[in-house]
Symmetry: C2
Subunit: 534 residues, 2 copies
């Protein structure tokens, strides 16, 4: 088939904030009252006109890039470079707000396809220039911050022109996508074929297919559709020493599964230029509901039972008591502030069902029976629909809170079921100890038969220097995760922020294996240097 | 918990045949008549008293091993060495039958646990001795044939003492098993906890947990319980340069999934000493049924629909017309020789349901409705029960056929649904062209949403030299698989037999990545040298 490209681009995000400025809103009064920790941010002008450091890359090298890609696809202006500086973690936003652009790339290039990418990588290897693949710019763990030590400079490889639907195989239920496609763009192209991906991380509106694969993203419908890495059946990867094209079958016994080495490789092993994924028919029906549980423990246990019975709805999430209390606009919806049983509002679970009417009805009936048996209280569609309406909105709220001096950030982890409570308690305690007066909220965002993720949201007074306030708390949380024997990240990836903790998770020899692979595919060390590989 | 070890060992298999000699049977007359190709095998005495070549390993090195493990666990007698020579492919059996024991290991060692394995590997690295991990000895792709070039000799690392259930985590539904546990032993230990693994490859009775992981095994209930690699959440691996202990969570975004690098590593990257797997409650109900389809195409398409609707029974298999005709003892069971529609016997599908009565009833009802809609004819439980009764019997039949001069072997592959017919036709044609007069049978043994496996059984006159008859046919089939763009193996692994075709599948750079990992974990090249890594 001919390559299809989306007609409309998502607008670029501002450097200091999330998303489309048209969607930004003032801080709701309710939230302002609730958080009770409003302070003016110190020296955070959130200016869009900050000066970017002068590029380090010599003119002759920039000229070499222009010769490769054409003048129009090699950009050195300040605004473009600023927009390719770091990602969208709270530290990233705070650094942008304070005008720290020390990590700005020297030049931004926009390859038009796999061959362009391969040419840039070969050029970068020859001239010892770091290359940072850039998709949606939504990284939250420092994955876009290359260490240029020993290199001539940093090229941001913006994949925004590689936004094609390259192939659809309806019989096999697969589609091949280019990496620069943002979530809504990929879905719009697939929808023309009656198909969908079904991958909805909170960053859905801006994050890209290449980023989903390179960071092992997991979305809000992952209970039904799986993690992104589980959807991938094929990858094409450009490296400085050649291409890898993997995926002749859904699975096989042809030795190690090398797809699993490039999934999660965060630009350090190559640039993903094509992704072949399982697709599904567009759902005819979408139904979201709320359930109330007397406690986080009870609700999580119910999730475990569903997962182990292979009886999962499309969406399954559970907020802890604190998150439930703060997220409910109307406590009456969950039985009043005292809760239906007089023991507080309890914990809100969201269940969602997507598919054909018959499949939705059958799954919903089975899940409803199981959850009722397990002690859940059905709350009807209202809480589910409220969640669905706001599912991509939290980063906008973060901006509004940062504006009034409230530090807000998220972090996440994953463990086996038997370790869930221990992990929860350790991380929550570590954050509360490190950030006096903080609110620490948590939800289970993804479940497996053998375990689940925990997603924490922290809000605290930012103080004079919100970044300095946050970093020790983040370190304390990471140390608590390691001490609990859990994974340092469920779906946010390693980047530079989590790299200090990776060796504890995979061992010294595991780290050496990563270095060995890195040497094989990137002998000059130009691929996203400093990211991922310990 | 204390390590539990099974009370009873499976008997050792004879060198020239499959399984327990007590279970061997004469060739049924029906099969003898059917195959119509009975010739006496030339020079295949199937003797059990063949002389094994003198060991190459110097006495001082053998003494070093005895110092490490104790005299009782270092064996050099001919019978033991012969029983650790190669695996159970038809070529392996034919070579044993003709007395070719050129690949015999020099010494067989029996480590008692992880530390013993680590000590042997460190010793082997120091003294440049090849180490071949040996589990059940059921390898069928040459995975037990180490190339000793440049090394002092070959040690067979028999994992038969490492047969413990190390841990059970009922809440997480996981268990940690030692690698030497054979299928029935693992299931018996888990059954004491009301749990099971649910992994039933045809080699189930002899193959081991370590082998399942090292070769990415797939079993007969994989539609419901998944491939073995998909069950694994944790691995402990001993290498000559240290240990790797992977699996802090079901899944995560901590970079590449290194478990997937050691799964399928076939002893070339280390010795798997512990495997943590998802377990399930023992099923209360097991029901197997037969379905008739007018054609292989129609039946395969029905499987595709089930897989893409996430509506899979526990067991789902489909024989092509030829396999259906030859496997049916009673053609009446499938509507008579002419078939219910007068167009031949059609194709037999086996469906199986395991679980709680309620879950089985619900799944069966949904699958039955779907298959009926798709044009299948329900045949009731008889064909399903006949299949279940004989599910591990085929290798015994192969011995009986080899006895009377009939060459019998299997091979398998996997592809995406849109390539299934092309792959089927190419491989079948290649085998028929290479082996005039051969019967080529096929079934789909495993399905995915995006594709399926094809498992071929070939029976042909063995001629004067059955091995020389088979090898060109195997090569032709492998070339057909590569030409069709499919995987060289769905679940039999690479070994030495498929190694020549691996680079076509993973590319030159993929092969270089495997070599890079190999150098990192096995710099002296002593781990199963010659196996897997191109």
């Amino acid at each position: 088939m001919t390559t299809e490209r989306p007609a409309v681009l998502q607008p670029e995000m501002p450097a200091t904030r999330w998303g489309d400025p048209a969607h930004a809103s003032d801080l709701p009064d309710g939230v302002r009252d609730l958080v009770g920790m409003v302070f003016p941010l110190h020296d955070t002008p959130a200016r869009e006109d900050v000066t970017v450091p002068a590029p380090r890359l010599p003119d002759d090298l920039v000229a070499g890039l222009r010769a490769l890609l054409g003048d129009g696809h090699v950009l050195t202006d300040d605004a473009t470079r600023r927009l390719r500086t770091r990602g969208k973690s709270t530290p990233d936003l705070l650094r942008q707000r304070t005008g720290d652009l020390g990590d700005a790339p020297d030049v931004v290039v926009r390859p038009g396809g796999h061959d362009d990418v391969a040419a840039v990588l070969a050029w970068a290897q020859e001239h010892r220039v770091a290359v940072v693949p850039f998709g949606g710019g939504t990284a939250v763990t420092g994955g876009l911050v290359a260490d240029p030590t020993g290199l001539a400079g940093v090229v941001s490889l913006d994949l925004g022109r590689m936004r094609g639907l390259l192939a659809v195989d309806p019989l096999s239920s697969t589609a091949t996508l280019e990496p620069g496609l943002r979530g809504p763009e990929a879905e719009a192209l697939l929808a023309e074929h009656g198909l969908m991906l079904g991958h909805y991380p909170q960053s859905f509106e801006y994050a890209t297919v290449g980023g989903f694969a390179a960071t092992r993203s997991s979305g809000q419908s992952s209970a039904g559709y799986g993690r992104f890495d589980a959807m991938v059946v094929g990858l094409r990867v450009a490296t400085p020493v050649g291409d890898v094209w993997l995926g002749v079958s859904p699975a096989n016994a042809s030795g190690p599964d090398l797809r699993e080495l490039f999934l999660g490789s965060e630009g350090a092993f190559g640039v993903i230029t094509e992704v072949t994924v399982r697709v599904r028919p567009l759902p005819e029906v979408k139904e979201y509901e709320g359930w109330r549980w007397p406690s986080f423990v009870a609700g999580a246990d119910a999730m475990r039972v569903l997962a182990q019975a292979d009886l999962l709805p499309t969406v399954l999430r559970l907020s802890d008591e604190a998150e439930t209390a703060i997220n409910l606009a109307d406590p009456e919806s969950i039985g009043g502030e005292g809760g239906a049983d007089g023991e507080g509002p309890g914990c809100l679970m969201i269940t969602g069902y997507e598919g054909t009417p018959a499949a939705v009805a059958a799954k919903k009936a089975a899940v409803t029976a199981a959850l009722t048996d397990l002690g859940g209280t059905a709350l009807g569609p209202e809480p589910g629909e409220a969640w669905a309406a706001g599912r991509f909105g939290a980063p906008y709220l973060r901006d509004s809170l940062l504006d009034v001096g409230v530090l807000v950030e998220t972090l996440e982890t994953v463990t086996f079921w038997s370790n869930r409570e221990n992990l929860y308690t350790r991380v929550k305690s570590a954050l509360e100890a490190a950030l006096p007066g903080a609110m620490v909220l948590c939800h289970v965002s993804h479940v497996y038969a053998t375990g689940c993720s925990l997603y924490f949201t922290v809000a605290a007074p930012g103080g004079e220097d919100p970044l300095a306030t946050w970093l020790p708390a983040k370190a304390a949380a990471c140390e608590a995760i390691v001490a609990a024997g859990a994974s340092i990240t469920h779906h946010h990836a390693v980047g530079t922020d989590h790299k200090p903790y990776l060796t504890a998770e995979i061992g010294e020899l595991g780290a050496e294996v990563l270095r060995a692979v890195k040497r094989a595919v990137d002998p000059a060390g130009i691929l996203n240097p400093g990211v991922l590989v310990p």
